[in-house]
């Protein structure tokens, strides 16, 4: 049984249809990436999974259970945690407070210290800035904070929406390295990226989304080698 399963999922913004029958699965332990052009529906897919946008039709299963009508805040309790597009760092909270927000639903408050240490060992920069307001961090630091904060929920499924967006190259490489590390430590990852080259080379499997539909699926390596993908997403003529 896959950890996450979307079957023919549609979603709308008012009358605008953003998702037109998305079908995809994520198995426990995988890194799965979703690539596609701007406006293809990647962010909407993430929002539908985390519950801040409703599903208009189709099936949404997490760990075998239908979560379509489960409130978004309760999906966090179930083990779905998201680092949103644009990072969503709380500007008026310190780095520590932001990380603590990630653990908002956790009952095992005693073990938070260990998880904080884990986040700080993944992102030593955050440890240095722990009392600084989130809004004063650089873009790369905010991205680290958003990922670290999502990890503080101890998720079973980590959703990352364009973690490399707007970052300098040395930060991008670092972020992708850390995603692999997080996955090796046992967290399943669904990664949305426009940086297809890096994303595909780090992913077990990948999906290509175009105007609200999945148009291609395969292993990361297969899609990397696909000529059509090369032309459309990897900037190779």
């Amino acid at each position: 049984m896959p950890l996450l399963e979307l079957n023919d999922v549609c979603a709308h913004y008012g009358r605008i249809q953003a998702l037109d029958g998305i079908t995809l699965t994520v198995e426990e332990g995988e890194v799965v990436t979703l690539i596609g052009a701007n406006g293809a529906g990647k962010t909407t897919t993430m929002r539908v999974i985390s519950g801040i946008r409703p599903v208009s039709s189709g099936k949404l299963l997490f760990d075998g259970d239908d979560i379509k009508s489960l409130r978004a805040d309760l999906r966090v309790v179930r083990g779905i945690s998201q680092s949103p597009e644009g990072r969503g760092v709380f500007p008026g909270m310190t780095v520590l407070e932001n990380l603590d927000m990630g653990a908002y639903t956790r009952k095992d408050r005693k073990s938070l210290g260990a998880d904080l240490d884990r986040v700080f060992s993944l992102f030593p920069r955050l440890a240095e800035r722990r009392t600084q307001a989130g809004g004063t961090l650089s873009g790369g630091e905010q991205q680290m904070l958003a990922i670290g904060r999502a990890l503080m929920a101890k998720p079973r499924l980590l959703l990352l929406d364009e973690p490399s967006m707007g970052l300098a190259p040395q930060f991008i490489a670092q972020i992708f390295r850390i995603i692999t590390e997080i996955n090796e430590q046992g967290t399943t990852v669904l990664l949305v990226e426009q940086n297809a080259q890096q994303a595909l080379s780090r992913a077990d499997r990948a999906y290509v989304i175009e105007t609200g539909r999945i148009v291609k699926a395969g292993t990361g390596a297969e899609l990397l080698a696909d000529p059509a993908i090369k032309e459309a997403y990897l900037g190779v003529a």
């Binding site: 801040i52 709380f90 639903t105």
Partner: protein, 335 residues
């Protein structure tokens, strides 16, 4: 004392006169009394500022949440035998009665605020209504509660309930601080500190700040936004209920169907002055507005000037600092 006792503006209209001598001689007593009034504005301002911080909604009906609390104070104290002359009670018995009246008022105002959210605002939120619809609804709810009170109690103010006769406690710069001013100022500060600590130090308070800064991301953290909204209205209502006790203490015959209107506008102005969405700003704005109103009244020699001066200063400050003195801190960064 200053040489010039009364300056008449050389070219100005003769209905404006500056009584500098009175301003100077009453400076400290005006300051102290202004702080007591300002504490009441500040407590009511908290409700405006917190709801605005979380929902970007100006809850115009908050003045009625407050006045309903004042009715609760009136009824509780009347039932306990208070009336137009100060009762002859031991300090312990008096404190007990006042605390009871305050708790009932907090409960009543808190419930009215939550009911208002449920009945008036939540249905609009469910439908993703535009901001203007919320504003109109807020004004409508304000009138609805006012005229419900009017229909129930009529146009006249309720008979005065005197809680105690203020006694001088100590002097500062030659001005007397009386027991009433001390009670109001002290209790208001304690309540504001508790609220500030709740918002900044507790898990639920942090959830509230998260919703104010970024509602969608707060939801992604597992914060139940609807619960936070109810909590916000509840806290605002509770503080307005406490303010109601102090208001009746200072204005014993002020319990009237439209008695919340002016005070509500001033409290809202106080919230804007301090920086709407900012809890400490509400305190600062409230105290400033109370003090400035008193200064203006003395300087211009007529109580009718109190509000005019307060608002002129408000506009002046907003021209220099458009987001208020402390800025919007509960709120998100806006474009």
């Amino acid at each position: 004392m200053p040489v010039i006792s009364t300056i008449v503006l050389a070219q100005g209209p003769d209905w404006i006169q500056f009584d500098v001598e009175a301003f100077v001689s009453q400076f400290w007593s005006n300051t102290i009394d202004g702080l007591a009034y300002g504490s009441i504005y500040a407590l009511v301002a908290m409700g405006y500022t917190m709801v605005y911080g979380v929902l970007q909604l100006i809850n115009f009906a908050h003045s009625e949440v407050f006045i309903v609390g004042a009715y609760a104070v009136f009824f509780v104290l009347s039932a306990l035998g208070f009336g137009p002359s100060a009762p002859n009670l031991s300090v312990a018995a008096l404190v007990g009665d006042l605390v009871l009246a305050m708790l009932v008022a907090m409960l009543v105002s808190g419930l009215v605020a939550v009911a208002l959210e449920r009945v008036a605002y939540r249905p609009l939120r469910r439908r993703n209504a535009p901001r203007l619809a919320f504003l109109i609804t807020a004004i409508g709810a304000s009138f609805a509660i006012q005229y419900a009170l009017f229909a129930w109690r009529g146009a006249n103010p309720e008979p005065a309930v005197i809680m105690f006769r203020p006694k001088p406690v100590f002097e500062i710069f030659g001005a007397t601080i009386d027991s009433q001013q001390l009670v109001i100022f002290g209790a208001a500060i304690v309540l504001m500190i508790i609220t500030d600590m709740f918002v900044n130090r507790t898990r639920l308070g942090r959830g509230l700040r998260a919703v104010a800064q970024d509602p969608d991301t707060a939801t992604l953290m597992g914060v139940n936004k609807e619960r936070v909204i109810v909590l916000t209205f509840l806290i605002g209502g509770i503080l307005a209920g406490a303010a109601a006790l102090f208001y009746v203490m200072k204005v014993p015959a002020g319990v009237q169907f439209n008695g919340g209107f002016i005070l509500g506008i001033k409290a809202f102005a106080a919230a804007v002055l301090g920086g709407i969405g900012n809890i400490r700003g509400a305190l600062l704005g409230g105290l400033l507005l109370g003090v400035i109103g008193n200064y203006g009244q003395t300087l211009l020699g007529n109580a009718q000037w109190t509000d005019v001066v307060a608002f002129v200063v408000l506009v002046g400050i907003l021209m220099i600092r458009p987001t208020g003195i402390l800025g919007e801190s509960l709120g998100r960064a806006r474009v």
